[in-house]
Symmetry: C2
C-alpha cells in the first residue's frame, strides 16, 4: 500500500490526492509539516518537499507531483487524465505547469505565507499589501480560467484532465484560507462548483488544519 | 518547421535544444529577451516565459519546457530520453524537477540575476553575499550529482536521459557566467565533460551573449 507524505494545505499533495481518488488507488496519509524539515522527508526526497509516495513493502519511492501523476497515468488505465493526441497531452501539461508554477507563485504561495505560516509559525500579522497584490493577480488567473471554460468543455479540452485537478487543488487552498473572490468570474466559479461536487474532492473538503479553520463557504457545495 | 522562442542563457530553452539535437529535430531560433516581456511571447504563452515552440504552418504551439520534452518523447522515437520501466521513468522526471526547480532556485536563478540582469539591464554591481550563498548551495547540488555519478552510469540510471540534459543545461549557464567551482567534485566534473563533448552540446558552447562574454573555460573540452 502506498503512503502519501503530505501536508493538508499543500496544493501539489492535493493534486495527487485528487488523481489517486479519480483512479481509485488506495493510500495512507502521512502528515508532514513543511516548516519542520524532518530528516526522514529529506531522506526520501532530496528536494525536501511534499508530496512523496512510498511503498515500504516494495521499496518504491516517487517524488515530485508531476512525476507522480505521470507514473499513475502510465500504470493505471482507469480515468485517463493526460489523454488525446500528443498535442492535446502537451496542452494538458502546459496548463498543469501554468497552475503549479505561475498561479502558485502569484497567489497560492503568498497567500499560504501570509495566512498560514505567519499565523501558525511566525506569529505575525499578515501583510495587507502582499495579500492585495495576490488578490489582483488572482483575478488575472480567474480571467484566463473564465476564457478556458468559455471555449472548452474542461480546462484543457473535451475531457476532464490533470489540468482541472491541478487548478482546483490551488483554488481549494486559496479558498480554505479565505482569499478567494469569485466576483466577475461566473464561468470559473461554475466550473469549480462542478469540481467540488466530484466524489474525489470530498476528502479535501473535510480536511481540517489545527488552529486554522477553513473559510465559511469552503466546504459548501452551493455558493 | 518548428521555431523555438528562446533566450541564449535560459536553462529551460537549453534543455529543449539539447533534446531536439539528440533527436535530430530541425528548428529555427527566435530570440527573446525575458526582461522585455514582448506581447507576442505573452500571446503564444500565457506564462510569459521561454521556451515556446511554434509551427506557424500547422498552427501548433508548445509551451513549458517539460511539456515540450514529453511531446517529443511521445512523437520522436530516436534516442529515448525518458526510458525504462514506469519507476525508472518517474526517477528521470523526479531528477528533471530537482534540477529545474531546486538547482534553478538555489543557484541558476540568483547567478543569472546577479551576473546577467544586473550587468545588462539594471546596471548594478553584483551582490557578493548572494553569489557566495549560491556558491555554497551549488556545492550541495554537486555533492548529490557526485553521488549519482558514483552509483549509476548516467544521472537517472543505465542510459542517457532527460535528467542529464536538464542538469547539464543548468550547469552550462552557471559555467558561462563564471560561477562554476568544480573543486572537490571530480565525479560531477567528469560527467559534465562527457556531456560537453556530445555533438548536441556544440551549438550551446558557440553561443555568445552580447555584452557578456563567456567565462574562460566555458567552451573548452578539456578542463
Amino acid at each position: 500500500m502506498w503512503q502519501l507524505h503530505q501536508f493538508p494545505l499543500c496544493p501539489f499533495s492535493r493534486k495527487v490526492r485528487l488523481q489517486l481518488a479519480e483512479k481509485a488507488v488506495a493510500y495512507d496519509l502521512v502528515r508532514e509539516n513543511p516548516w519542520e524539515g524532518r530528516d526522514e522527508l529529506w531522506q526520501i526526497n532530496p528536494a525536501g518537499r511534499t508530496p512523496v509516495l512510498r511503498d515500504s513493502a516494495r521499496g518504491s519511492v516517487l517524488a515530485d507531483s508531476r512525476a507522480i501523476c505521470e507514473y499513475f497515468e502510465e500504470t493505471i488505465e482507469r480515468t485517463p487524465l493526460i489523454a488525446g493526441t500528443a498535442l492535446q497531452r502537451a496542452e494538458t501539461r502546459r496548463l498543469v505547469a501554468l497552475f503549479d508554477e505561475n498561479l502558485y507563485r502569484d497567489v497560492t504561495e503568498p497567500v499560504m505565507h501570509e495566512k498560514l505560516m505567519k499565523r501558525l509559525i511566525l506569529r505575525q500579522p499578515p501583510d495587507g499589501q502582499t495579500l492585495r497584490r495576490a488578490g489582483k493577480l488572482l483575478h488575472g488567473h480567474l480571467d484566463y480560467i473564465d476564457w478556458l471554460v468559455d471555449t472548452r468543455q474542461w480546462l484543457a479540452g473535451p475531457t476532464l484532465s490533470l489540468a482541472d485537478l491541478a487548478c482546483a487543488a490551488h483554488l481549494s487552498v486559496i479558498d480554505y484560507l479565505g482569499a478567494m473572490d469569485w466576483s466577475g468570474h461566473e464561468q470559473a466559479k461554475g466550473w469549480y462548483m462542478v469540481m467540488k461536487s466530484r466524489p474525489s474532492f470530498r476528502p479535501l473538503l473535510g480536511e481540517k488544519m489545527d488552529g486554522l479553520p477553513a473559510a465559511r463557504e469552503y466546504a459548501t457545495l452551493d455558493l
